[in-house]
């Protein structure tokens, strides 16, 4: 089942002679449950692509369909609601809300949606992420690895259609990195989550089902590693 379809996506910064093409007619699609890694050198447009997929940046042209919804045809409010229900974003710098504790940060999308928290699902995520004794801590009381686990929890809590991770291990040491990747893979397999991860770490890319290589805003290689 196709969960994501990208058609002729382009993003241009600036105008006229100084215009920079961050994305240039990018098209691809992703099946549900797929684990996709996007790699490429700095400035190749991979972060821009991820942000556009996550509905937080707008493309200059082209379309993004998630679960058959043309997300850039939605108005601002609908797009926000779509984000909180269908997309889980994980950033390099965690971006947790400093005044909310671990549990509140994880359940933030539900809270915004005024939905009841499914206790068993939450417990399971917390146990999986190893945050059981950290629930009432504020982000600044956690280590970097722990903070990133909280942000994975936040991305997972909604069973989103799409989980997007932007260099999730870029700020972590190798031991923590390995653990985070393990957790991401686990969620991909255990919950059949579709996962797109941006990285320039070969070792991570090699664990993906499929690897897309970007250069100068174009897909130069689209490789299926395993089915």
């Amino acid at each position: 089942m196709e969960i994501l379809r990208v058609e002729d996506l382009a993003k241009i910064y600036g105008e006229g002679e100084t215009a920079v093409k961050a994305l240039d007619r990018v098209s691809f699609s992703v099946e549900k449950g797929e684990f996709l890694a996007v790699i490429g050198p700095s400035g190749s447009g991979k972060s821009t692509l991820l942000h556009i997929l996550g509905g937080v940046d707008t493309p200059t042209s082209g379309k993004v369909f998630i679960d058959n919804t043309d997300i850039y045809a939605l108005d601002e409010t609908r797009l926000a609601i779509f984000r909180r229900r269908q997309i889980g974003l994980i950033y390099q710098f965690y971006n947790l809300i400093p005044i909310l504790n671990v549990q509140e940060n994880i359940t933030l999308p539900l809270l915004l949606d005024e939905r009841q928290v499914d206790k068993s699902q939450l417990d399971e995520i917390i146990v999986t992420l190893g945050l059981t004794d950290r629930l009432n801590h504020l982000p600044n009381q956690l280590s970097g690895g722990q903070q990133q686990r909280v942000s994975i929890g936040r991305a997972l809590i909604n069973n989103p259609a799409l989980m997007l991770a932007d260099e999730p291990t870029g700020n972590l040491d190798s031991k923590n990195s390995a653990e985070i990747v393990k957790l991401l893979k686990l969620s991909n397999q255990k919950y059949n989550q579709t996962l797109i991860i941006i990285t320039h770490d070969e070792r991570i890319a090699l664990q993906a089902d499929r690897v897309i290589s970007l250069e100068d805003g174009r897909i130069v290689k689209d490789q299926v590693m395993r089915k």
Binding site: E76, T77, A80, N95, L100, L138, N140, Q141
Partner: protein, 873 residues
């Protein structure tokens, strides 16, 4: 400039909005700190000039100084001007229409004297030689004797003598004319010498001539060189430097001139405004000014401190970085003081300028309110003392504000900078909120509340600012409202605009005729002519209200019921007024006119002033219509058999004029018809020609009416008349109130502006600092509506919290300070000015919401990714 200061400057430039708001706050604070002393100086100056216009421009008066000693004063170094004068005595004014003023009073002045006493020339010129004379215009206007310029008048000058206890007293201008009567032989005028004068000018009546003075002032010229050998003069001296030393020096001069201390008198009315004489008004003014200055400093310290604190927390990374490359504690601390210096260098001169300008403009605007109240204009006085004290106070304010942030800056270490201190300190308890918040208001509201709590100190200072604004505004409103109420109660809210009372002797008929003409004048809406006589009635104790019954004090029932003798005023009112009054009280006017069964309407409201000085309005009698009272009249203190029994036909709570209270609690009033009044008088052994006839008028145009009455008086034989223009007095009072309100509310408004600036700074900074968080919230799916909701709740919580503290504190201030101090003198119900409370609530919520919206709108349009990118470490 060293690198740290350079960085500080750059930082100030980078955060332009906050720097500007801080400077505006400083400008406002300095402007107010300037305005207060400038106002005090200007007000005192106006009062000084007003008194000078009234009493003349002199500080000390030496009387009876021997001729040869005049120069001691004139040549003294502290003498700015010295005016010579002589009280020469009286001369008869033949043909004076005013029997209380049968004389001319001769008071000679040298050239300086005319200036010192502000004599106003209406026509002609001032005297230049000793045979010249100027005369008061009241001689023609009041006395009816006309002299023209160029006329030669021959005066027999002498003194007024009065025999008293075998002594011969000399009477002066402060003794009114003493007529021959049963008690006294009356005064005698003994001429001593004759002089001829040429009238050179006519002046307005001088302010030193009181209306009861028996002589009209005429002023010949005093030529120092013509003074006889043993002559003495009075010297009115104005000082060069007006201070306490001048006072001591004046007493030394008196000794040098060989005059006793009782010949030295000071112009106390004037000197009180220089602070030389201890004076209540002045100390009240000074303590009020000091109180305002303290409030201004508190308010502005809150603002400036906050803005420095914000700046430090933003700069902590720079400072930590500087520390890591070797900046000393002192260098870090000084960077905050440098910021204060920059803000001060821009803010203080601007503040002084705008404060002075603002006062100047305000004075221009309130000037029209004061023309009837003071005799001098309210002019702007910019004294160097006022400016210097304002500048010093402002510097102090900035220094206090910078002190704590500077200390904090000095402690910033490299590691703090790397870790961004504030968030490290954040603990779960700091941002804990009640579960109810989420349940009732939703998650966005909870986020808003948590945001408030994260910077506890900043949050407290903001709330404190808001609370100050609320308390100030409500206290001033309450003060203004209560002051007005108590003034009304004290004045008993006089129900008429003009009262007219003929004081010169005329028959009752002549007076009545005079009044009747006035009744028909153009601007009269409603008039009552009242004649009154005294009578006594024996009233049984059970007819009295407890508070008005003098026998009730004992508390014993028996004694309370004892009858006692009560003073009454029996007042007859004219027919037209009687008809209206009868109608108002539901009576048939014919039974009021029935002289066989005489009766009247009892006015039953009284305002009692109790032992602890409170005024209370109540009913005087427990009396019903139909009761009768036996009235007796005392002739020469002896009761005789000429009483009348009067029936109480009706009980009224208003006088015919509509008045509801009388200040004299000892005298009750009964209104009767002219017929009943005449019948009562007819029983008396001798008809007392009643002098007590007066008239009360309600008028649509009181001032024109007063002019018309004065004009009409000229055509009649009535010489003396007291016209009391209550409307004008009321107008003056309300103008003074408005004047005071302008300054009070102006003060509150500016304080609110300072607090507003503080809130703008705090809230917008805290919103801007959270851009990244907002971006994250948006990226995980917060909708624009949710964002607005969060911002709205955050401001709502600010406002509610401020009101939560501000309103009770205001009510406590109103009750314990304002109401209590006023209720020492008046029984007023404690009233909360609800209108102002509502205004305060709306204003606070509006102020906070607008600030939040302003700050929020800057963020809302931002692209999430740009923010996330920019703010990454």
């Amino acid at each position: 400039m060293n690198i740290i200061n350079k960085l500080t400057l750059r930082h100030l430039k980078l955060n332009k909005q906050r720097t500007i708001v801080t400077i505006i706050g400083v400008v406002l604070a300095v402007a107010m700190l300037t305005a207060v002393p400038v106002f005090v100086a200007s007000f005192l100056d106006m009062m000084q000039r007003s008194v000078i216009a009234d009493t003349g421009n002199w500080h000390v008066l030496y009387s009876d100084v021997p001729r040869q000693n005049i120069d001691i004063v004139v040549n003294d170094e502290n003498t700015a001007s010295a005016a010579l004068s002589q009280d020469m005595g009286y001369a008869r004014l033949d043909g004076s229409r005013n029997e209380d003023k049968p004389y001319l009073f001769l008071k000679s002045f040298d050239e300086q004297g005319f200036a010192t006493y502000n004599l106003k020339l209406l026509e002609g010129r001032f005297p230049q030689k000793s045979s010249d004379i100027v005369i008061s215009s009241s001689i023609a206007e009041n006395g009816g004797v006309v002299y023209r310029i160029g006329d030669t008048i021959k005066l027999e000058i002498g003194q007024r003598h009065l025999e008293q206890g075998g002594n011969d007293l000399l009477l002066g201008q402060d003794h009114s004319y003493v007529e021959q009567s049963a008690d006294t032989t009356g005064e005698r005028f003994i001429p001593e010498y004759t002089r001829e004068y040429t009238v050179t000018g006519i002046i307005s009546p001088p302010s030193f001539e009181q209306y009861w003075a028996p002589g009209y002032t005429v002023i010949p010229f005093l030529d120092k060189n013509e003074l006889a050998a043993g002559a003495t003069v009075n010297i009115s001296t104005a000082w060069q430097n007006v201070n306490k030393e001048a006072n001591i020096h004046a007493n030394e001069l008196a000794e040098d001139m060989e005059i006793s201390s009782d010949k030295v008198s000071y112009n106390r009315a004037l000197l009180r405004y220089y602070g030389i004489i201890d004076d209540n008004l002045l100390s009240t003014l000074y303590s009020l000014a000091a109180f305002m200055i303290v409030l201004i400093i508190i308010g502005s310290v809150a603002l400036i401190y906050n803005s420095f604190a914000i700046s430090i927390s933003e700069r902590s990374r720079h400072l930590g970085m500087l520390a890591s490359v070797g900046a000393t504690t002192r260098q870090k601390r000084n960077s905050v003081f440098f910021e204060g210096l920059v803000v001060g260098i821009i803010g203080i001169p601007l503040g002084v300028f705008f404060g002075t300008l603002g006062m100047g403009i305000t004075f221009e605007l309130v000037q029209p309110l004061l023309t009837d109240v003071f005799k001098a204009d309210l002019g702007l006085v910019v004294s160097s003392d006022a400016i210097i004290s304002a500048v010093l106070l402002s510097m102090l304010t900035i220094l206090i504000s910078a002190y704590i942030p500077a200390r904090r800056a000095s402690r910033i270490s490299p590691i703090d900078a790397i870790r961004q201190t504030q968030d490290v300190k954040l603990t779960g308890r700091t941002v804990k909120t009640s579960r109810l918040t989420r349940l009732i208001f939703g998650f966005e509201a909870e986020l808003g509340l948590k945001n408030l709590k994260r910077h506890r100190r900043r949050y407290k200072v903001t709330i404190f600012s808001l609370v100050i604004s609320i308390v100030l505004f409500l206290s001033v409103s309450s003060l203004s409202m209560l002051a007005q109420q108590s003034a009304e109660l004290a004045a008993g809210s006089i129900p008429y605009d003009v009262s007219v009372f003929v004081t010169s002797s005329a028959t009752a008929q002549e007076k009545m005729d005079f009044y009747r003409v006035i009744t028909r004048m153009e601007h009269v809406d409603y008039a009552v002519i009242e004649q009154s006589m005294e009578a006594e009635a024996v009233v049984s104790g059970d007819l009295m209200a407890a508070a008005t019954n003098p026998n009730a004090q004992s508390g014993k029932q028996e004694q309370t019921l004892q009858p006692f003798s009560m003073q009454f005023q029996i007042k007859a009112i004219d027919d037209a007024a009687l008809n209206r009054y009868a109608q108002e009280t539901g009576m048939d006017v014919t039974c009021l006119k029935d002289t066989r069964n005489p009766g009247g309407i009892l006015f039953n409201t009284v305002t009692i002033r109790s032992a602890d000085n409170k005024y209370t309005r109540m009913n005087r009698f427990n009396i019903e219509a139909g009761e009768s009272l036996q009235f007796i009249h005392k002739i020469n203190g002896e009761p005789g058999d000429y009483g009348t029994e009067l029936q109480i036909i009706a009980v009224a709570d208003k006088t015919p004029m509509g008045g509801t209270s009388l200040m004299d609690p000892d005298e009750a009033i009964l209104f009767v018809s002219a017929e009943v009044y005449a019948a009562m008088q007819a029983k008396l052994p001798e008809v007392i020609d009643n002098t007590n006839v007066h008239m009360l008028i309600r008028s649509s145009d009181p001032s024109s009416l007063v002019e018309d009455i004065k004009e009409f008086q000229q055509q009649t034989s009535i010489a003396n008349l007291i016209i009391n223009d209550v409307a004008a007095a009321n107008k003056r009072n309300s103008q003074v109130n408005t004047f005071i309100n302008v300054f009070f509310y102006g003060f509150v408004l500016l304080m609110a502006a300072i607090c507003g600036a503080n809130i703008l700074n705090t809230i917008s900074t805290s919103v801007l600092l959270r851009r990244r968080e907002f971006a994250v919230l948006k990226s995980v799916g917060m909708t624009p509506a949710g964002f607005n909701k969060m911002i709205r709740y955050e401001s709502l919580f600010y406002g509610l919290k401020a009101l939560f503290y501000g309103l009770p504190i205001s009510f406590a201030m109103m009750y314990y300070f304002i109401y209590r101090s006023i209720s020492n003198s008046f029984t007023l119900a404690f009233v909360i000015p609800w209108g102002s409370v509502i205004v305060a609530i709306i204003a606070i919520l509006a102020m906070v919401s607008l600030t939040m919206l302003y700050a929020g709108s800057k963020i809302k349009t931002e692209n999430i990714i740009d923010v996330l990118k920019n703010e990454s470490i």
